[in-house]
């Protein structure tokens, strides 16, 4: 299925859960926050959150800023 990840289109496996997406992107146990279709998904729910086609996913982190 197709999802949009940080503004870019990605093809991923159907029935993918959020924790698996984070794992495969290298963000397992990293300090990130995730928003799907403008709703924040709390860390505690990563493993149960099922992704759907056309989900718009934002993964953010802290970087240098003033």
């Amino acid at each position: 299925m197709k999802i949009t990840l940080n503004g870019e289109s990605h093809e991923v496996a159907d029935e993918l859960r959020l924790d698996a997406l984070l794992e495969s992107s290298g963000y397992a146990n990293k300090r990130v926050a995730v928003e799907i279709n403008r709703q924040i998904v709390p860390r505690s729910r990563y493993s149960e959150h099922q992704l759907k086609p056309d989900d718009r996913i934002e993964i953010v982190h802290a970087i240098g800023g003033g």
């Binding site: 290298g26 928003e35 982190h61 970087i63 003033g66």
Partner: protein, 263 residues
């Protein structure tokens, strides 16, 4: 024990040992960020919230690895946000990122050339964030009435600019700042415009509770030395404010006694 030991900056009920708050942007690398932050002695450091680079090596060191939240109060900002919606959304993500952390820096910009704040959007965002339980430190223009309004809304610190962000023009508005400082019951921190140490000292001598800066340090030829200079300037300016300066007079007043001169 010195006078400064008890003279803490208190924001939202929490004391901080340093009145210098520093940004973490524009440094050469994370090591320079870490060293400059240490030299500045800052306890509160701002960070920006941005998309991760998908595909980039996630094992790269992270800002929060060199400035761990256990040692520093991380102040997520809304830099780059031009609407109240974007600002609120960014800080909600920041709260999730930082495990429920409530202290945030709100800035909603209105113009790309000056980076002046959009005060209408800022007010709206501040109201929504306060209602949502955030402790909001708010970047604003130097308008005393607006500062009062932001305080009434429930912001925990008012942070007027001294000059445009990154301009290094120094304190351009000392009477406005003075008016804001004298009327505010929450801390007032200069946020933006400082160019060198004397600017920071002037802000503190006016009675500001602190200064937040980034470019003045990160953009200096030697950022770590400038961070050190800023730390001293903040301490000197604060001490001078507390000590109470002498009034300005047009003519001289001899320092040595007149009585007993020979001849």
């Amino acid at each position: 024990m010195t006078h400064t030991d008890t003279d803490m900056l208190v924001i939202a009920g929490r004391p901080y040992q340093s009145r210098l708050l520093t940004g973490t942007g524009k440094f050469k690398d994370l090591e320079e960020t870490r060293k400059a932050t240490e030299a500045a002695g800052s306890k509160i450091v701002t960070v920006a919230i941005r998309r991760t680079n998908i595909g980039q090596d996630p094992e790269q060191p992270n800002l929060l690895d060199v400035l761990p939240p256990e040692r520093y109060t991380i102040l997520p900002n809304t830099a780059g946000c031009y609407t109240a919606d974007d600002a609120v959304r960014t800080l909600q993500l920041a709260r999730e990122l930082l495990d429920g952390h409530k202290l945030v820096k709100l800035e909603v910009l209105g113009d790309q050339k000056t980076l002046f704040p959009d005060v209408v959007q800022t007010l709206e965002a501040a109201e929504r964030l306060v209602a949502d339980g955030f402790d909001v430190m708010v970047y604003t223009s130097d308008d005393p009435l607006l500062a009062r309004r932001l305080e009434q809304i429930g912001c925990v610190a008012i942070m007027p600019l001294a000059a445009p962000i990154g301009s290094g023009l120094g304190i351009q508005n000392r009477y406005n700042l003075l008016e804001i400082v004298e009327n505010a019951k929450v801390p007032v921190l200069v946020d933006a415009g400082v160019g060198t140490a004397s600017d920071a000292a002037i802000a503190m001598e006016l009675g500001c509770d602190g200064v937040l800066m980034n470019t003045a340090i990160a953009g200096a030829r030697d950022p770590i030395l400038m961070a050190h200079a800023m730390k001293l300037a903040i301490q000197a300016g604060r001490a001078a404010f507390r000590a109470g300066r002498i009034p300005r007079k047009r003519y001289a007043s001899a320092s040595s006694p007149i009585d007993g001169t020979i001849g």
